[in-house]
Symmetry: C2
Subunit: 345 residues, 2 copies
Amino acid sequence: MPGSRVTIKDLAKRMNLSVSTISRALHNNPSIGEKTTREVWKLAEQLGYFPNSVASNLRRRKTNMIGVIVPRIDIAFHSHVISGVEEIAYKMGYNVTIYQSRDSYEREVAITTILQTNMVAGIIACLALETRDCSHFARFNNLKVPLVFYDRVSNELEASKVIIDDFDAASRVTQHLINTGCRRIAHIAGCQTTSIFADRLEGYKAALQRNNLPFDPNLVCCANDLSYEEGARCARKLIRLAAMPDGIFCANDYTAIGAIQVIKKANLKIPDDIAVAGFSNYPVSTIIEPALTTIDDRAAEMGKTAARMLIRQIEERDVNIASETIVLRTDLIVRDSTGKEKVNA
Amino acid sequence: MPGSRVTIKDLAKRMNLSVSTISRALHNNPSIGEKTTREVWKLAEQLGYFPNSVASNLRRRKTNMIGVIVPRIDIAFHSHVISGVEEIAYKMGYNVTIYQSRDSYEREVAITTILQTNMVAGIIACLALETRDCSHFARFNNLKVPLVFYDRVSNELEASKVIIDDFDAASRVTQHLINTGCRRIAHIAGCQTTSIFADRLEGYKAALQRNNLPFDPNLVCCANDLSYEEGARCARKLIRLAAMPDGIFCANDYTAIGAIQVIKKANLKIPDDIAVAGFSNYPVSTIIEPALTTIDDRAAEMGKTAARMLIRQIEERDVNIASETIVLRTDLIVRDSTGKEKVNA
DNA sequence: ATCAAAAAAGCAAACGTTTGCGTAAAAAAT
DNA sequence: ATTTTTTACGCAAACGTTTGCTTTTTTGAT
């Protein structure tokens, strides 16, 4: 930053005071006289002084930068999380810097290096799909840089987490399908090495079992990248089955929408022939017809919670808080892509 | 960052070299012997040395931080822009820090202050809807911090811009509607104090005029926040008109979708009774039925372009580049919400 | 061997703050 | 009036790099 910035030194010279006095005055340190403090502020104002936080960070050996690692920013879920993080961070005087892993392990590792050299005060991350081993995050433990994962978390690592109960949510969606009369329920699943998707599959299975419905592996179809296209592909496969499912629980809304479009094109009625439920409550879920029954994943709330948690840990570093896990409550949002629940006798 | 980081000094002590030698070696400065350089790198590796970029930034009087100000992160357009910015920045060794103005002027001003104290190397911004006066950005001119606006830009300020030709795009959409046979075309407009929305209105008018169609102010309806709901409100108003429009050009996709849903609920056929066109090509535009004819706003491209431009200006600061404006080409994407173009005799 | 030139490395001051400790002046207590 | 306490401020060393300049060492030419 050239452009001859005004520094504390300049103020000191002008006022015949020492730099330490100026610094203290600007922090309203009580050891500086009220009158002096007032005058320092006034002059600072006049000369257009701005503190240089880089210098301050160096001296204090800490920044107010929160590093956020997301798979992709342009996915609705993550942009909502970031929005929540930014909101809290802004209020608390922290800055947010973001990086996209693009679901690449290699890139995620590189990003952790960057975050370290940048001395971020804390980190909020959602693991890349590719990531199996989380040792690149371990360094932050040594450096005492707080770390909180959201959504896709690591179990092998001591770190705080904010998640939703995927098992429970999936099980509730499935139960809802069952309550509406579905008996052959398929599942379009996410990548099973990621715990949230594994949990969703388990929740689905649990609901079936609870209702004495058989689990048929042929009804589970894996949509690796959880895209619209993958959802369509799985749906095509499912409706060609000899014993076609009468309901599909999809691991996210994108696949659900892909599925809905395929089903409609096949001239099958939703929800009468096949009911469809998604997961996440993306904005599109109200746009698609029929509107999609889904689970609200509370993205912004997740971001806010993660940020609050992280900042608390940053500011209470000394007391060495144990890592904690917060599970957010989710809501089942029933729309038109699933039928009415039958009142049980 | 406690946790006893390894510094250049530590390396120097271990190797009986001066800190300057170490620093130069780590930068592969040719004035340091090859052998020494190799050994320094090896030891750095062994001891787990990481450069402290805060210190480096202070000494070099420049950071590699790009500040991005967006109205809201969770709007698809902006999250795509950010994604583009991040991609280029990452490749070029810059970090990205983001702030949401939430379309508030006050907040935008506060953010510029934060960016200044943080010594960002450059800024990419999209003006808040509320913003009339841009003098809070002027300081960056003095500080020689490059600034590039995207999408919503300021004309009163000397700064680079990357935009699309809203006038041209709007005029093309309108022409398309005319070509498909529409004769009473309405416009759901954005806030007219923002130039892009004013341009879209003008482009619409120009197309009408070019085709000798009358401009009827009753057919222009202002949707201030350009939300889904506002679109619905405007549509309700328009279809109640004695002389109902046979086509609607909406200033963005959200309002278009709101309009489509209202029109469908009124049992009017799209595009036969009323054709609808949007602006932006949001992901939902392929999901809604009928799929929406719209203008692709090249969001990610805009972000990449802005980032490239900014980084060039950062790195060639000395040559004092004149501010430049890049206008991105847009594409009209014809889908089912508008009819077929009639071949003119 | 002698000297100039090139190569390799060191010195020390910066960058703009913050902060522990020390000191002078003012106020309060004796 | 003297001592003690309080108040207000200054000194100087950090924080971890970078960099202009100087010094030493090596190399090559004579």
